[in-house]
C-alpha cells in the first residue's frame, strides 16, 4: 500500500507502526518520516492497558518500561517528532536525539466564538477526551468540589468515555456525596456537531 502511494512524507500516529518503520524507511529512502509521539507510554500501559492484568506489578512495570524504551529507540528512524504537551516534550528531550516540536492539541475554536457574549455561557471549563485517572479526572472532581465553596454558579463539563468502571463508579459516588450533580457534568462522547455546540457555550 505504502509503495503504491509513494509519499514524500510519512506521518506515523501510533506506537505499533514502529514495528515496520525500518522496512518503510528502506522502501522510501528519500521520504521524510514524522512520528507523532503520544502520551507517556509507560504510564498508559501501567495504569490503563495493563491495569487489570493478573500479573505482579513489578513485571508490568518492567514491561511498560521496556515498551517505552523501545519506542524511544525507534524514534531514531524518524526525521522529526511532534507531540501535544510540555510533559511529552520534556521526556522526548531527555530520551531522544531527534528534533521535536509541540503542537498543542487545543480545541480549535476558529470563528465559532467571535461574537459569543458572556450571557451565553453555560460551562466555565470543559474537558474533551478519554476520561481517566491518569488524565486527571479525580483532580478535576476534587477541584470542582473546592471551587463550589467559592463560586456557587460554577459548571464543569467532562465529555468523553470512561473505560475504567471503578473510576466511573467512584466519580458517580463522589458527585452524589458532595452534591455536584448540577455543576459537575459527565457525558459520553457525542457526535462532532453536538460537541461544537458545547464549545460555543464555553466562556
Amino acid at each position: 500500500m505504502c509503495r503504491k502511494i509513494n509519499a514524500d512524507i510519512f506521518q506515523i500516529v501510533d506506537l505499533r507502526i514502529n514495528r515496520i518503520i525500518s522496512k518503510l524507511r528502506n522502501q522510501h529512502p528519500s521520504a521524510k518520516f514524522i512520528y507523532d509521539i503520544r502520551e507517556p507510554r509507560d504510564y498508559n500501559l501501567l495504569y490503563i492497558t495493563l491495569k487489570k492484568w493478573p500479573v505482579p506489578f513489578f513485571i508490568k512495570m518492567m514491561y511498560a518500561r521496556h515498551i517505552q524504551q523501545w519506542e524511544y529507540s525507534k524514534t531514531n528512524y524518524y526525521d522529526y517528532l511532534i507531540g501535544v504537551d510540555d510533559e511529552i516534550e520534556r521526556r522526548v528531550k531527555e530520551n531522544c536525539k531527534i528534533d521535536y516540536t509541540t503542537i498543542y492539541n487545543y480545541t480549535n475554536l476558529k470563528d465559532l466564538r467571535k461574537n459569543n457574549p458572556l450571557s451565553m455561557k453555560v460551562f466555565d471549563a470543559a474537558y474533551i477526551g478519554g476520561i481517566s485517572e491518569v488524565r486527571g479526572a479525580l483532580v478535576i472532581a476534587e477541584a470542582t468540589r473546592i471551587l463550589k465553596e467559592e463560586f456557587s454558579g460554577i459548571k464543569i463539563f467532562l465529555l468523553g468515555n470512561i473505560h475504567d468502571i471503578r473510576l466511573r463508579n467512584y466519580l458517580a459516588d463522589f458527585i452524589a456525596k458532595h452534591d455536584l450533580k448540577k455543576i459537575f457534568l459527565l457525558k459520553n462522547m457525542y457526535p462532532i456537531l453536538k460537541y461544537l455546540i458545547i464549545i460555543i457555550r464555553l466562556k
Binding site: 500500500m1 509513494n6 509519499a7 514524500d8 506521518q11 500516529v13 501510533d14 506506537l15 507523532d36 492539541n105
Partner: protein, 89 residues
C-alpha cells in the same frame, strides 16, 4: 503551494480511526488546506475499504488479520506463520 505537483503525505494510524479528532479533523484537513495530497491508512480497522472522504482525503482501511481473540496469541501465531513462510522460501 503549487497544485500541479502537490507534495504527498501519508498518515498511518493503528489505534486511531479514520475520523479521529486530531489526526483527521485537525492534522489531515489542515494539510489538505495547505495543498498537500493526503492519504490516510488505518491498519487496524474493523473492515477493509478504500476511497476518498467528503473532505478529499484518500483513505485505506485495512482489516487486521485476527486468527484468535487473544492479542498476544494472535501476535505469536502471526510470527510463527511468517517464520514458517520464510523457512519455506
Amino acid at each position: 503551494m503549487s497544485q500541479l505537483n502537490p507534495p504527498v503525505i501519508c498518515i498511518i494510524a493503528d489505534k486511531h480511526d479514520l475520523y479521529d479528532d486530531r489526526a483527521y479533523w485537525k492534522q489531515a484537513l489542515s494539510l489538505l488546506e495547505e495543498g498537500f495530497l493526503v492519504h490516510y491508512i488505518v491498519v487496524n480497522s474493523d473492515e477493509s475499504n478504500q476511497g476518498v472522504t467528503k473532505e478529499g482525503v484518500s483513505f485505506y482501511l485495512i482489516k487486521r488479520k485476527q486468527y484468535i481473540p487473544s492479542i498476544i496469541l494472535n501476535y505469536l501465531i502471526k510470527k510463527a506463520f511468517l517464520f514458517a513462510m520464510n523457512m519455506m522460501k
